[in-house]
């Protein structure tokens, strides 16, 4: 009990650092999901509908991102801009890396969802006179969203977990803050477990959110 009391005491002392780390983790994840999704939508459309020549650069981008470890992407985003004279903060570089990573994955899963729609849907939309943008907006995208939602939630979970890698380049997110706190009080197990539980809670919450949206969609 005494051990637990002293953990609570240390937790209280570290509360602000932990809170900032946690909020930074959430902020970086949300930003990466938003940017990654925007990028992913463009990539998905290009991969699915663009003619070969326009499609090629997107294909290369996606394969490059998917074939590279996230940690390598993070290090590259941190060092390469500096070399070419762009100054990005560690946090900005981290968001850049995670967004590029997410954009490729979301682009690929969006392509899968769009291509899974039966061709008869396109023909039916065409036959009532929908132009391509309207066909996309009212027929294809609504159907693709349903198929893409579960893997999109998965990508979100991957991003939240992946954000812990930003500790390597000195972004003061949850993991780095936890390590700093452990460096002061040496309560290694306690604080790593605590950080692990926080990641778990956020991921489970996101997962449940996805499941509830999915249920509501399939209710029809």
């Amino acid at each position: 009990m005494e051990l637990f009391d002293s953990f609570l005491q240390q937790l209280w002392i570290a509360r602000e650092a932990l809170w900032h780390g946690f909020m930074l983790t959430v902020g970086i994840s949300v930003a990466s999901i938003v940017f990654g999704t925007l990028l992913g939508c463009v990539v998905a459309l290009q991969l699915t509908y663009a003619p070969l020549l326009l499609r090629l650069p997107f294909r290369i981008y996606v394969d490059l991102m998917r074939g590279t470890p996230v940690l390598v992407l993070i290090l590259a985003s941190f060092y390469i801009p500096a070399v070419i004279g762009l100054s990005l903060s560690a946090t900005e570089a981290g968001i850049l890396a995670l967004s590029l990573f997410a954009g490729a994955h979301i682009g690929e899963l969006g392509r899968g969802a769009l291509q899974a729609i039966p061709p008869g849907q396109i023909e039916a939309g065409r036959s009532i006179g929908l132009t391509f943008p309207k066909l996309l907006a009212y027929v294809l995208v609504p159907q693709a969203l349903r198929a893409a939602l579960p893997p999109w939630i998965n990508t979100g979970v991957e991003l939240i977990k992946g954000s812990s890698l930003l500790s390597i380049i000195g972004v003061g997110e949850l993991l780095l803050k936890t390590q700093e706190i452990i460096g002061r009080n040496f309560m290694t197990i306690e604080f790593y477990v605590f950080a692990g539980v926080l990641y778990l809670i956020v991921n489970i919450a996101l997962d449940q959110f996805g499941k509830s949206v999915e249920r509501r969609m399939s209710a029809r």
Partner: protein
Amino acid sequence: MAAAPLLSIRGLTKQFDKLEVLKGVDLALAPREVVSIIGSSGSGKTTLLRCVNLLEEFQGGEIVLDGEAIGYRTVGGKRRRLGDRELSRQRAMTGMVFQSFNLFPHLSALGNVMLGLRKVRRLGRDEARAIAETWLDRVGLATRGDHYPSQLSGGQQQRVAIARALAMNPKLVLLDEVTSALDPELVQEVLNTVKSIADDGATLLIVTHEMRFARDVSSRVVFMEQGQIAEDGPPAEIFGAPRNPRLAEFLRNTRT
């Protein structure tokens, strides 16, 4: 045919790579005419319909609908496919009903019928809804408006698809083997629906394997054979006194 033709197809040719599917088809439809196309599979019937709805490109000849050449424009001696916007406008002039219904699964029956009215004809919600409800009632599904396609039988889905096509008030309705994907006991309700819109004066071009239906509903029947029209005449003649030996053979083989 005294009236100016609503649809006029002249010398239509179509190739898939090296395979010649349509080898110079000539066909004209007067307003309010109901024409059925029969023939064995691979004869080019469905491809012909799909060319009229611009779902397929074609390499030669022309299709004129209500005085307007559709699908292509000749600029400086070069034949060019029209752009998305023009093709879409021309597609809206015809309605198409598909073998596999192709209803939008994420929209209710009413939503399926309303989509074109709202987004293509740009009607307000209330007006679109009123037209859609009238058409669902017309195909006998007034009480099914808020059902989703997955909650409807095949026959009901196909009737919604007919309502979706007709609500757009097309000049010409194309029906592509609309009963081929249906369970036998659901075929009649769909055929009755088609019959009743034909009786109301719609211009229909029908591809069908239902010989009895073709005989009952059509003002003219066309027999296609290897990408060409082999015989064209009133149903009594086509079914009663076929001149083309291949048509006679086809009819013997399909007689039930």
